[in-house]
């Protein structure tokens, strides 16, 4: 067992974990932060995307011990005082989700994009979300939502 100290969605945690424990299972099973799901076992789908010290990572491909001393933000940390972020609002208004399973990871990946590139083109959004699979939406409304959130006219 290894001792870790990690801040998740604004709360500090100190825990003993097996070194092999994946970050995603630490968040889900130990902290009860089940908002971030798992969709595959080969790091392709991006459903488990969370923010680790300012970069989006696939939580299934990071060990909990690697997050020692770090700050993690999940989809559940986006909403404060009941206020949605612009991205969450745009996903709702653009109908950019159906079953909702890819949505948490998609929101986190899009948030990372807009931080680096506040005014992306439609192509840039598609490239930024390439690591996040969705089976329901056909992506188009997701791209629109991200462009809306970037407060940019839809460019085609």
């Amino acid at each position: 067992m290894t001792r870790i100290s990690v801040k998740v969605d604004g709360t500090n945690y100190q825990d003993e974990v097996e070194p092999r424990l994946l970050l995603i299972h630490y968040l889900r099973d130990r902290l009860g932060l089940t908002g971030t799901p798992v969709g595959c076992d080969t790091s392709n789908c991006g459903a488990c995307t969370v923010d680790l010290d300012g970069a989006s990572v696939k939580g299934c491909s990071v060990l909990a011990v690697q997050a020692d001393g770090s700050e993690v933000t999940t989809v559940q940390g986006l909403t404060s005082n009941g206020e949605w972020t612009g991205l969450q609002q745009a996903f709702h208004e653009r109908h950019a989700l159906q079953c909702g399973y890819c949505t948490p990871g998609m929101l986190m990946a899009a948030r990372d994009l807009l931080r680096d590139n506040p005014h992306p083109t439609s192509d840039e959004v598609r490239h930024a979300l390439e690591g996040n699979l969705c089976r329901c939406t056909g992506y188009q409304n997701i791209v629109r939502a991200v462009l809306d959130a970037s407060e940019q006219e839809v460019r085609t």
Binding site: R20, L21, H25, R28, D29, G32, L33, T34, G35, T36, P37, V38, G39, C40, D41, T42, N44, C45, A47, T74, V75, Q76, T79, W84, Q88, F91, H92, E93, R94, H95, L97, Q98, C99, G100, Y101, C102, T103, P104, L107, S122, V125, R126, H127, L129, E130, G131, N132, L133, C134, R135, C136, T137, G138, Y139, Q140, N141, I142, V143, R144, V154
Partner: protein, 798 residues
């Protein structure tokens, strides 16, 4: 009635009322929890003392199981239970019935019949320990020759897979035919032109983002089993568990919580669910089973796998006379196809498509192979994907042969609007359709003539551009109970509606959303009928203790069957409300008019009572009319008189890189007609998703096997599904041809795009490859397969 209105993808969003009291573009009630990570999927569930289950799977496709040694696994300090097939056999639980009336091994006893089959399971304190313990189980196998190629599965010297079945001496599963062979023969005899083609619809997988899983919780004190599971049909599952396990239905509660996509993958009962139940029964603790992606791909319900020989007959001037086909269907090791009992080949009988033919005939043989069971899944509407692919490819082959434009050939042969209801040569009665305006709208939106001119110019320069057309008629909304049942359960659906004293309401459904937006649209249906705002209507589904019996969501049946039930139950409540209103207004009910949300006295609109006033009176003090009980609620079980038959016209434009043979879908125009549109925003989302499925199936996806029966597509590294980069911006439009027999004129639509898009894409690729003399190439049209076709070597994908 048909109205045509183009709705291009560049229109402004959220263009009309945000809070319609009924049908219209309404934002989803589901979204607030999903965008905040507050959905409730099966794996989110954590119960006190809950244990974790992992399944040991066969590494071989076909082998005798000689021994299973679990002693080391049992000695693992965190393991609570290890179960083998032999242990289940003692309890009579080693085999379970499938939805096709075959049987399937829960855990292998005699032998394994596909790679990935369940052999044993472990229940441990956490998911890591459960996986560890699988490594400690020692299974001794005696390898047998596997049967992989469906074309040789019936050869005399082929090993028999199903020697568990009494007297079984071959791999034959069933034969099925439809249409009239002699009539077809006669039509073919007098045809000017006959075209034949071998067409394979390869094995693919629905691969929902959330895999299958369950939490079983058996309470030994009150004897009640609660099963949270990824099921699209919770009531049907409950009844089947009751029949298998011997527990009475009132002691089984099946809960389907939020489901991360189903796409038909979550209709069958899988061994994992049964293992979780057994695990909980044996340990007295809640037990969670959650498969990983590899397990999902190699062992749960696949889709398609039809090897077809199609033939089409026509006159020289393009009148299609007849269509016939021979099909070899690969059903894997157990026939687990989810289809109505009388329809072993699903609704493949609609393979005559949208055309007025003189004759049609299909002869099908289904066989067992050493592969996972399944067949009906992935938005197929019970095999209509295969049917539409066959007819739309054959019509294109004919157009090629005749040198005729593919739209022109289709237009000449459409069933005409005045012919509806139209009985096809295989006995299906299409409810309504007005095909030409739908095709015409797609042609206009695509700018078809300009596209052909562009193509001609590019072809002259050696560039490869293709334009593909498909026109489909779907058959959704199973179904009339006299014809359609799943293992004896009629395909009707219940609905209950209760209006509370303050005028808020709850509507309980037997169908189960997996992302299709039922919590929003069913509130809209009731709102349209009753005038209560949809925000005030709670939709309850997925919990067998809290909802009426019904068959669940698949085959795009929710709107046709449950949607009808929701409208009719609201009308029943409205009828009662009218009686109460008449006493409140002291007039005869015959003098009342309904004004969406209130009853008013004819000729005196000021004398009116709202549905909310009536709800309070129904529950309050004061007299009600003679014979009217208190409360304001109703229930119904809706038995549809026919299916609904939505249609659509799709046009696809592809570019092919002549150096790498990579296909790019540049444009895709999809015009759908599903009758009355409850929520256009949600329909568009359904269409976008289905079109993306089409790109996946046509260009990328395939569950492949090597000759030893190893699954070569057992993870997302090899089973490729479209990302945001493989798909274009979709261009959608619609026409409206209501279903005459449906209470609100609505037809199903969810699977239309998955059904209709693959032939459009393949037709486009084949069109692009014309300079190479290609008349057909099988999916998936990956760069290597397209390259082979360009070299004159198109090969079937098995």
């Amino acid at each position: 009635m048909t109205t045509v209105s183009p709705n291009g993808h560049r229109t402004a969003f959220v263009d009309n009322d945000q809070k319609p009291c009924g049908h219209g573009r309404m934002l989803r009630k589901e979204d607030p929890r999903f965008v905040r990570g507050k959905g409730r999927y099966v794996d989110d569930l954590q119960l006190p003392g809950m244990l974790h289950l992992a399944v040991l799977r066969s590494p071989l496709a076909h082998a005798r199981v000689l021994s299973v040694d679990t002693s080391l696994a049992e000695a693992h300090p965190k393991v609570r239970l290890v179960v083998t097939g032999a242990m289940l056999a003692e309890k009579g639980l080693a085999w379970m019935p499938t939805l096709s009336g075959d049987v399937q091994a829960v855990l292998a006893t005699d032998k394994v019949r596909f790679q990935g089959q369940e052999v044993a399971f472990v229940v441990a304190e956490d998911r890591y320990a459960a996986r560890d313990a699988l490594e400690l189980i020692d299974v001794e196998y005696e390898a047998l020759d596997p049967v992989i190629d469906v074309r040789t599965a019936l050869s005399p010297d082929t090993p028999v897979i199903r020697d568990d079945l009494e007297g079984k001496a071959d791999n034959h599963c069933f034969d099925w035919e439809t249409g009239d062979a002699a009539e077809a023969e006669a039509a073919f005899a007098r045809a000017d032109v006959v075209v034949g083609e071998d067409i394979v619809y390869p094995r693919v997988h629905p691969a929902p983002m959330e895999t299958c899983g369950a939490v079983a919780d058996y309470d030994p004190v009150d004897g009640k089993l609660t099963l949270w599971s990824t099921t699209q049909a919770p009531h049907a599952h409950r009844t089947l568990y009751a029949l298998v396990a011997g527990l009475p239905e009132h002691k089984i509660r099946v809960v389907s919580p939020d489901i991360g996509g189903g796409f038909g993958n979550k209709v069958p009962i899988y061994p994992g669910y049964v293992c979780a139940i057994v695990g909980s029964l044996f340990t007295g603790k809640p037990v969670k089973w959650m498969e990983d992606r590899s397990e999902n791909l190699i062992s749960t319900g696949f889709a398609r796998d039809y090897v077809m020989r199609g033939e089409i007959a026509a006159t020289r001037d393009g009148k299609i006379l007849a269509l016939r086909t021979q099909v070899l269907a690969d059903h894997g090791a157990f026939n687990g196809t989810a289809a109505p009992v009388k329809y072993p080949a699903g609704f493949f009988g609609v393979f005559t498509g949208s055309y007025d033919l003189e004759a049609a005939y299909c002869k099908m043989t289904a066989v067992y192979t050493n592969k996972a069971p399944g067949g009906v899944a992935y938005a197929c509407s019970f095999r209509i994907t295969e049917a539409v692919y066959l007819v739309e490819r054959m019509v294109d082959c004919l157009a090629y042969e005749l040198g005729m434009d593919p739209i022109e050939l289709r237009m000449r042969n459409f069933i005409r609007p005045e012919q509806f209801p139209y009985r096809t040569r295989t006995g299906w009665v299409y409810d309504s359709g007005n095909y030409a305006p739908t095709m015409e709208l797609a042609r206009q939106m695509a700018g078809y003539e300009e596209l052909r001119a562009e193509q001609a110019a590019k072809r002259a320069r050696g560039e490869l551009m293709g334009i593909g057309v498909s026109f489909f008629t779907e058959a959704v909304g199973a179904g009339p109970r006299k014809d359609m049942d799943i293992l004896g359960l009629g395909m009707a659906d219940g609905c209950e509606l209760r209006v509370h004293p303050t005028g808020k309401a709850v509507v309980r459904l037997s169908v189960q959303s997996q992302g299709q937006g039922h919590e929003t649209t069913f509130a809209q249906i009731v709102a349209e009928e009753l005038g209560i705002p949809p925000q005030d209507i709670e939709v309850v589904h997925g919990d067998t203790d809290r909802t009426p019996f019904g068959l669940g969501t698949y085959g795009s049946r929710s709107t046709p069957v449950s949607g009808a039930a929701a409208a009719l139950v609201a009308r029943k409540v409205r009828d009662k409300a009218k009686l109460i209103a008449s006493s409140m207004l002291e007039v005869s009910a015959a003098d009342l008019e309904w004004a969406k949300g209130s009853f008013q006295v004819a000729g005196d609109p000021k004398a009116s009572v709202t549905i909310q006033d009536i709800a309070m009176r129904a529950h309050g003090a004061g007299d009600l009319p003679d014979g009217v009980e208190g409360g304001l609620e109703a229930q119904i079980c809706y038995n549809p008189e026919n299916l609904t038959y939505p249609h659509g016209a799709y046009i696809c434009v592809v570019d092919i890189d002549p150096g790498t043979a990579k296909v790019t879908v540049r444009r895709f125009v999809a015009v759908d007609d599903c009758g009355t549109r409850i929520n256009p925003m949600i329909i568009e989302g359904q269409v976008h998703g289905g079109l993306t499925d089409g790109v996946g199936m046509a260009l990328m996806e395939m569950i492949a096997f090597d000759e030893d029966g190893n699954c070569l597509s057992g993870s997302l590294m090899d089973y490729l599904i479209p990302t945001s980069l493989e798909v274009p911006d979709w261009e959608t439009g619609f026409t409206v041809t209501p279903s005459p027999h449906h209470p609100i004129g609505a037809k199903g639509v969810g699977e239309s795009a998955t059904v209709g898009s693959p032939p459009a894409i393949v037709n486009a690729v084949v069109d692009a490859l014309r300079p190479f003399g290609v008349r057909h190439a099988d999916m998936p049209l990956t760069p290597s397969r397209v390259w082979e076709a360009m070299q004159g070597r198109p090969t079937p994908p098995i």
